[in-house]
Symmetry: C2
Subunit: 150 residues, 2 copies
DNA sequence: TTGTAATATATGTAAATACATATTTTAAGT
DNA sequence: ACTTAAAATATGTATTTACATATATTACAA
């Protein structure tokens, strides 16, 4: 369905630029709700899932809170509390960094790895359904988004 | 800058599909922060701004809460409280719908229109800077997003 | 008409978010 | 060494969000 139909927009957008912004925001929400539906079953928020994936991507190299923020999709300042939540669930470890007592080393635990694998498996199983673009189109979409932000 | 650089991703994405999802979420946040910076000056949230724009697009035809939800980018259920906020600021009117005492007619006020015009002017003035794609590219981006969701 | 379901919105509440500020530790300058 | 600034994270707090439930009204069926 076209964007205009989905949000029941009767009159045309002022510019194709404005339409693009709305389209990105709308598509983002579409992704968010799709993902969240599955994440909720695992009792984890989208943000927590994102942080876990970041840590998992580091293998066994720990990251500090600031390094996590750098890698997060939305740079807000409560990464510290997100890590708290993950720590309480036993998915990450957190200890004072050697050589800098201000910073802390955060690492995914083996429990966290097992959990993440399970979640990711469940989510990607569903994502296969919505594989509506071909390889070249995905690449073009990525290129355009990168260029938009440039 | 490429997506990988921006979020300091060292290893490649598992698939171009996964990368696209992350790219859309990242770009959405990029837009959100850019917009919010200006909206805050006007003491209005992104969601409230969105609702005002929806109402403005209707000229003088009022919308019910449910019709507003249909047109919102993210369909959450607190449109009622968003309208409350806008009502408190005098930007919308709200009265019982004739013929259905459950529903209510929400309409943008003239104060709301003046306000919206001011905000939009301020935002679009800045958006001109970041006009990094050409017309055809914007259209292609819109087409790909629509297809992705299909 | 009377009970039951559906509709439209409002409200209660726990959790998450944004933003400012505090705390602790390190760095740098004199 | 001492002062001040910067860095890294934690905490406080008001607002927003998500989700469930409540209230009021309408529609429908027996």
């Amino acid at each position: 369905m076209s964007l205009e139909q989905e949000i029941k927009q009767t009159r045309p957008f002022k510019s194709v630029y404005e339409k693009t912004l709305v389209n990105i925001m709308f598509t983002n929400n579409w992704i968010f709700f799709k993902q969240n539906k599955y994440l909720k079953k695992f009792d984890i928020s989208s943000q927590q899932y994102n942080v876990l994936r970041i840590l998992n991507g580091q293998k066994d190299k720990p990251l500090t809170i600031n390094e996590i923020i750098d890698r997060m999709l939305d740079k807000m300042s409560n990464a510290s509390r997100l890590v708290d939540k993950l720590y309480a669930k036993g998915y990450v470890s957190r200890e004072q960094k050697i050589g800098n007592r201000r910073a802390c080393d955060v690492k995914i635990t083996s429990k966290g790895k097992v959990f993440l694998e399970e979640v990711t498996k469940s989510i990607t199983a569903i994502e296969k359904d919505l594989d509506s673009l071909n390889e070249a189109e995905y690449e073009e979409l990525n290129r355009l988004l990168d260029k938009l932000r440039s």
